[in-house]
Symmetry: C2
């Protein structure tokens, strides 16, 4: 099959990559549409030392099993079910997990992929492919509300106007919260403004250590230092960026201000599909471009530009 493959540090489209084979409990999925995430770009830079088919955001059609013939999205963590984390009901932290297109498992920038059947979530007809392909990052946004207490009246800052920051802001708005997004790209801030979400340019934001909650979606190693300038003493920072760089960080403000920093990764795919089906999330303004799989390298390059929000790949 055709697939976009990272071999060490080189990315290329391979027209004759081996078709994936479903193991016990797994099903093959024909990929309909895939999305490029910041994590994919970090992986290409060497994060996770991954080799194989890139990509983990997708919507496709299950080729077998109980979802056979239906459109599906899928959780990206493939777990053992028996380790201490799985037994503690923390399967996304399975000690022996593989992760779609990230760790030990081929991803979705390909004609076909394979996932455990239990990872699949059916997509209702009312949700288009261009909506459903946002399920994975949307779930990551929803996850924030499962880790910390969020309530109306809080001062909430979202740092970053990119892929994830846009989704976090829309999810929070759907939850009746009033986030303020701090970003750097006027066009991206204008999209938020169009949704009635407060959006401020970083040059105009005045960090005054008053925010109850800061969601760090900058995609940059410096994001935590910036968050510490906004959060109030005893406030909370949710850290979302996984970057290959290290940050030259002064940790003292975390201690002095007794700030809580919460790392946050994958979220509930079923809740994401529900939010899309309920019409709470507007995805079209977030789609920068769509590329055929043959042009996956151009898609990755485009996704890495500051102007891009979500770049899609159609196998």
């Amino acid at each position: 099959m055709k697939a976009c493959v990272l071999d060490g540090r080189t990315v290329g489209v391979d027209a004759a990559y081996p078709d994936p084979v479903a193991a016990q409990g797994e099903v093959r999925v024909r990929v309909g549409l895939a999305g490029v995430c910041r994590t994919d770009l970090e992986i290409v830079k060497g994060y996770m030392e991954f080799t194989g088919v890139l990509g983990h955001e997708f919507v496709g059609t299950a080729l077998e099993g109980r979802c056979g013939g239906r459109r599906v999205v899928g959780g990206i963590n493939c777990v053992c079910g028996t380790c201490d984390m799985c037994r503690s009901r923390l399967p996304t932290h399975c000690r022996r997990r593989t992760v779609l297109g990230i760790q030990g498992r081929d991803g979705v920038f390909a004609e076909q992929t394979v996932l455990p059947e239990t990872n699949l979530v059916p997509v209702p007809d009312s949700v288009s492919d261009r909506q459903a392909v946002f399920a994975e990052p949307l779930a990551a946004a929803i996850q924030i509300g499962r880790q910390i207490a969020l309530e109306p009246g809080q001062e909430i800052i979202v740092l970053g106007d990119g892929r994830l920051g846009q989704l976090v802001a829309q999810v929070f708005q759907a939850w009746d919260l009033a986030p303020t997004v701090v970003g750097k790209m006027p066009d991206k801030l204008a999209i938020l403004d169009g949704f009635g979400i407060a959006a401020v340019h970083a040059d105009e934001a005045e960090p005054s250590k008053t925010a109850d909650v800061v969601i760090e979606c900058t995609g940059a190693a410096a994001g935590l230092a910036m968050a510490l300038e906004f959060v109030r003493p005893r406030g909370k920072i949710v850290l979302k960026s996984t970057v290959a760089d290290t940050a030259g960080l002064n940790l003292a403000p975390i201690v002095v201000d007794e700030v809580t920093v919460v790392g946050s990764r994958c979220g509930p795919m079923d809740a994401a599909i529900e939010m899309l089906a309920a019409g709470h999330i507007e995805v079209e303004p977030l789609i920068t471009a769509e590329y055929p799989l043959d042009e996956a390298l151009a898609a990755l390059e485009h996704a890495a530009t500051p102007e891009a929000i979500k770049v899609l790949i159609r196998p």
Copy 2:
């Protein structure tokens, strides 16, 4: 009066430093015994850009007010009572606070100091000066239990066998927890061993990402990175070190493992005195040396050696 003063970057003992003057609501305290903290050493290196009399750990005798003539210890944060933090019952985070020997207020390496009367906590006769001088760092150890849930059965790692790590381990033992201290100094680990507290040399510790809670008391910027090697996914790290250095930190493990990092600073002085009075804390093995105020520079130098635990200064 005689005082150990930091002027910019130079420390010296000044025999004719102006006597402190008590403002409205404040009382003068004759310092009986003071302790050197890692924070003092960081301040000498430039942390907080402090100038004035160093030191914040003390026991002394109140010279006036309701505690007049009695032995006292004192909370180090001097607060306004009217800002948003004070009104939110977070007075240690007062926006306009001064902090004894740390920020905008002369400290305790002197014959006399001054504090708001409400900061003072009387010391019962059963608690000696050499015990009471530990109240401030002991309160900082107790604070951990007010910020995160600690319970028997948890795997708890204390990183650092120094001043604070020793006290945290003793407090946790008194709370029926079973901490394991990871340190680098055989003599310090032996003290813990003598108390029946598990103590392991860092070279022999095998970080396996299984600890429910890691208390970072290394006093080093690299402490958080080390803590991330011990904590389990979804586990908690309590960060205690305030250091002037910045850390070249890879933040991705916080996100991937969804770790919670909680900064923790000052704690309840009254609870500390209660623990000392109840006989829960053995301080004598932790006292490395006692210097007269005239030799405060030697005391600071001694406190900076790897072998030292608590160095005391007697005005």
